[in-house]
């Protein structure tokens, strides 16, 4: 039996199904139109975004310019507020950098033992603790002075140093004085320069012992008391606040 090809002649030879007479060109044209339509939609969206955003940017820029202009008009007020803040901070830093002399004197008066008295006292800020005489340390140039650009004459890190001269009933009293001075809050070192008891005749050693005299038969002592270096302004402010609160709580001791 002879085989018969039942497929129409125009559709033979592997031509695609549905290509039709145009051979698929119609589909291609349709796809092209569809693609162009998608592109047009995308373009439209982008174009709309551009126009919207242009308006938005212009509006924002106008508002920013308006706000800038208004702020510029009020700039003197801002400048004055800044001046106030700068001055307040400057005064606060100077206040915080001060050494509390009254507290130190109060403590000296509190810890000196019975039998010991104070004849003279010299306190300086910025001197390093030395064992030299008080007159020498008070006339020498201090580290604080050499730092010309400091913001305070008592800058953080300066060491408050006191030279105490006085009379004590005995050498034991001098020792007790040293021990008790070390109890003062903030004292770092207490150094004895001299403790001289007059000779049997009541003259000589006492008058040349560097003291101010006037102790009679008592011991003339000379001590150096160095406090901790002055803290930074923020730490000083916190410490001052703490101490003030503490003094308020205890009701003071004077």
């Amino acid at each position: 039996m002879r085989a018969v090809n039942l497929i129409p002649a125009e559709q033979r030879g592997g031509s695609s199904v549905g290509a039709g007479r145009s051979g698929g060109v119609a589909y291609a044209v349709l796809a092209l139109f569809a693609g162009i339509a998608v592109l047009a939609i995308l373009y439209g969206i982008a174009s709309h975004q551009v126009s919207t955003r242009k308006g938005q940017a212009a509006s924002l820029e106008a508002r920013a310019a308006q706000a800038e202009s208004a702020a510029q008009q009020l700039a003197p007020y801002t400048a004055f507020a800044a001046l106030r803040q700068a001055r307040t901070q400057a005064v606060e830093s100077l206040v915080d950098s001060r050494f509390d002399w009254a507290h130190a004197f109060h403590e000296f008066g509190r810890v000196l033992p019975f039998g010991a008295s104070l004849a003279s006292l010299t306190g300086t800020i910025g001197k390093l603790a030395t064992t030299s005489g008080g007159s020498k340390s008070s006339s020498s140039s201090s580290p604080a002075a050499s730092v010309g650009a400091v913001s305070s004459v008592t800058p953080p890190g300066s060491i408050p140093t006191f030279t105490l001269t006085g009379c004590a009933a005995s050498q034991d009293t001098v020792a007790e004085t040293i021990d008790r001075l070390r109890l003062i809050n903030g004292v770092s070192t207490v150094t004895l320069s001299s403790a001289t008891k007059p000779g049997p005749s009541g003259s000589g050693a006492a008058s040349s012992g560097g003291g101010s005299g006037g102790c009679g038969r008592a011991v003339t002592y000379n001590l150096q008391v160095a406090f901790q270096p002055l803290p930074t302004t923020t730490a000083a402010a916190a410490a001052a606040t703490t101490r003030t609160v503490s003094e308020t709580t205890t009701g003071g001791s004077k």
């Binding site: 975004q49 800038e68 005064v91 400091v150 003030t244």
Partner: protein
């Protein structure tokens, strides 16, 4: 050309046309939109900054009376000129209240013989303030002098809440010397002579106390300046000064 080749060619041409359309028309527009989005975010940041500045300025305007009073109040601690008479008056009042005799005051700035640190530091400015070194001499008992030092500190102090309280001149004591006071050549029993080296502060010469501001408005504005939408006039500042 077979049908297959033709189809491939059609697809390639189609893609080329669509690609060209994308590249030449759509993509540039989308690029513009993207660029504008960046521009908008920049403009928004600028607007936020400007509004922040404006808000700060409005706040400063609203607080002007308080700020003016504070600056004038700080003038008691750090005046615009040396104000030595006022300083003497304050020291005399403080010493009298503490049973201390205010013996002398010496300006060490003009003293050429002094080699103290106060003089050396006089040229330095403290936080923009000029320094005025002085030496004061007081006479009193140990504890009266202690109370006087506390009083001098209280001229300008920080309250426990951290705010400044100004009732007099800001002084930084640098050196204290206590020695028996000699009354008529004879040392008194419990009276001490206290020599204090201290520094007072003065505002820089280029600034006035209020830098040209008046109670109604700062320098450079009229009293009726108002911000956008704000019609609140500046409240006149009232400063109470106690001698």
């Amino acid at each position: 050309m077979t049908a297959r080749d033709r189809n491939v060619l059609i697809v390639v041409v189609l893609l080329a046309i669509l690609g060209a359309g994308w590249m030449l028309v759509v993509s540039p527009e989308r690029g513009k939109a993207s660029k504008l989005a960046t521009q908008i975010s920049t403009a928004q940041a600028t607007l936020s900054a400007a509004e922040g500045k404006l808000s700060e300025a409005h706040n400063a305007q609203a607080q002007y009376a308080t700020a003016y009073a504070a600056v004038v109040g700080l003038g008691k601690a750090v005046p615009a000129s040396d104000e030595v008479p006022s300083l003497i008056y304050q020291l005399e009042r403080a010493s009298s209240s503490k049973n201390v005799d205010f013996s002398s005051i010496t300006s060490t700035l003009s003293s050429s013989s002094s080699s103290s640190s106060a003089t050396t530091a006089a040229a330095a400015s403290a936080a923009g303030f000029s320094q005025m070194p002085f030496t004061f001499v007081f006479s009193g008992s140990f504890f009266d002098l202690e109370h006087l030092f506390a009083q001098l500190d209280r001229f300008t102090l920080r309250t426990p809440t951290g705010t400044l309280q100004v009732s007099g001149r800001l002084l930084t004591i640098q050196e204290v010397k206590l020695a028996p006071a000699a009354a008529g050549g004879v040392a008194s029993s419990n009276q001490l002579s206290g020599t204090i080296s201290a520094v007072a502060y003065v505002l820089p010469g280029t600034q006035g106390l209020t830098a040209g501001a008046t109670p109604l408005s700062p320098s450079g504005t009229s009293a009726t300046v108002s911000g956008s939408g704000s019609s609140t006039p500046a409240t006149p500042a009232v400063v109470e000064a106690t001698p």
